[in-house]
């Protein structure tokens, strides 16, 4: 393009308010777009980070979640004794037999009740889940009415903070520790001794069995052995896959809704850009005629206006992205429809999202500017010059 770039920049500056308003409209759209992508990413990160690739989760066949599943002691013992299961440092099998129930707790901010996952775990659980670390207090003592709460749960639910008490299963449970699970799904859970919880709820059956594989590559072998055994009625999945599946509906919903909204919003922004660019062309008709008379080719005029539109888009994109990045300070907590329990996740910004967002903004600008730029380039010189 032979027309100097400074010409385009200065023209945007010359019509400052219009530029600001148009870019502002785009910034809003970009904000929504980026926020949705960040939310998706946050959800994915939370759920995928829940669990390790080397762990296998087994629940009863046809149950979709741990809460619906029942595995009795006999079956649990059979699963524990599978040869492919890893052995811990102390020689014990790295297996956690867990009971999972939902308990209604009141939120601290709204006072309204919601379902919280309470997981009864075995002593091996922390070795199976190395990403979980106790950051306050201590682990519960087996046999005691003690529980530990995930960071999110402790923050958001009444009675779940360290030193506080919760009442369920006809007992008082003291929160003796808070654990950090690196912002994964476990952060929204409350953990206690499986045996104590089973007694309190009068449920002498487990919900799920989680085992660490001695050799992760032997997963398929393990799965086949466990699913074809006549004495067992379980389904085995890698822990990461299990949690990913749990959020499928919610993730899909966010993605679908977000995409629809972004498309609708972008129409508004593109229309705004179009109106602005058409006005810009109209205001500079005489200039365009002059440039063409001087010998600048049509392609240069087209490029100059496309650049102007693209700059509008990029400006809007940067502003929108800037404000969207502040969303990282917020957490969303909502009920995951599949697990029926509350899940907290946040907005996560990644370089990929930054690139996607800027590309989206650029595209909006270019789409808005295309037709006006074409009009500018196709002006007849004599007509344009006449319009002083």
């Amino acid at each position: 393009m032979k027309i100097p770039v400074s010409y385009t920049f200065r023209n945007l500056w010359a019509r400052r308010w219009t530029t600001l308003l148009t870019a502002g409209g785009m910034a809003l759209v970009v904000f929504v777009f980026a926020a949705v992508l960040m939310l998706e990413e946050g959800l994915r990160k939370t759920l995928v980070d829940t669990g390790s690739y080397d762990n296998v989760v087994m629940i009863r066949r046809s149950a979709q979640t741990e809460v619906q599943s029942l595995i009795d002691r006999t079956q649990a013992a059979l699963l524990e004794s599978q040869p492919t299961v890893a052995l811990g440092a102390d020689g014990a099998r790295m297996v956690s037999k867990e009971i999972v129930v939902l308990v209604n707790l009141n939120k601290r901010d709204s006072g309204r009740p919601t379902n919280v996952m309470v997981r009864g775990v075995g002593t091996a659980t922390l070795t199976l889940r190395p990403q979980v670390k106790i950051v306050e207090g201590r682990m519960f003592r087996p046999g005691a009415s003690e529980i530990i709460a995930g960071r999110s749960a402790a923050d958001r639910f009444k009675g779940a903070g360290i030193g506080e008490m919760l009442w369920f299963g006809q007992r008082e449970w003291r929160v003796v520790g808070v654990f950090d699970a690196e912002r994964s799904g476990f952060d929204s859970e409350i953990w206690g001794d499986a045996d104590q919880l089973m007694q309190a709820f009068r449920r002498p059956v487990y919900s799920a069995v989680v085992a660490k594989l001695g050799d992760s590559a032997r997963f398929d072998e393990f799965k086949r052995a466990v699913e074809s055994d006549q004495r067992l009625t379980v389904e085995a999945k890698r822990e990461t896959q299990f949690y990913a599946d749990q959020s499928e509906v919610l993730a899909g919903f966010i993605k679908y809704l977000g995409l629809t909204l972004s498309v609708i919003f972008s129409i508004g922004a593109v229309i705004g850009a179009m109106i602005t660019m058409y006005a810009s062309v109209a205001a500079r008709t005489a200039e365009i005629g002059t440039l063409r008379a001087l010998g600048f080719p049509r392609s240069s005029v087209l490029a100059a206006f496309m650049l102007e539109a693209a700059l509008l888009g990029v400006t809007g994109g940067c502003v929108g992205l800037f404000f969207a990045s502040f969303m990282q300070l917020f957490t969303i907590s909502t009920m995951n429809w599949q697990s029926f329990s509350e899940l907290a996740f946040s907005f996560t910004l990644t370089p990929a999202i930054v690139l996607k967002t800027l590309a989206f903004a650029l595209t909006m600008g270019v789409m808005g500017g295309f037709l006006p730029a074409v009009r500018a380039s196709r002006l007849k010189i004599v007509d344009a010059l006449r319009a002083v």
């Binding site: 010998g295 080719p297 049509r298």
Partner: protein
Amino acid sequence: MVVEIRHLAKAYQRGDQIVPVLTDITLDIAAGDYVALMGPSGSGKSTLLNLIAGIDKPDSGSLCVGGVDIVTLDEADLAAWRARNVGFIFQFYNLMPVLTAFENVELPLLLTDLGARERREHVHAALAMVGLSDRLEHYPSELSGGQQQRVAIARAIITDPTILVADEPTGDLDRASAEDVLNLIDRLNRELGKTIIMVTHDPHAAAKARSIRQLDKGELAG
């Protein structure tokens, strides 16, 4: 002959009516000529100027400028041809409001292969010639009408074009500024030997030219 026109005709479409503007124009302009085209409003003088400058296409006839029949050139070639061969001086100066005087004059050079340093030298020279060396960094809004026109003239001569076309160059100027501009154009013709074709309805301006051609209802008189 720098400009050779044979049987040029041009008509415009207004709604569903076809209005003829020029009928059978034949005209020669020699190198170094300073011609004023005069005539009443609607006589077609501006149209003729536009055709010679290559910013409009005739319906029929031939038009050779500097030996090239520009009627046969396509859009892209015509643009390139204009850049090298035509200098424009408009009634309303037609400067880019967002570019400084320097940058406005530099504009046509961006279509050449010259480097930044060479361009700068040319611009300085052109602005010196029109007496505006001290106004390089001013924007058009900071210049008077006469000064803006002189910047436009510097822009018009910077590529050393074959012809200079001026459409009512003094139409928007006060008496004194108009006088300055006309003197400048005169110098370009006498000292630099530039071929100048000027459209005007101001007889005072026309008087400065070497020859005057009258247009009436699309035909050249005399």
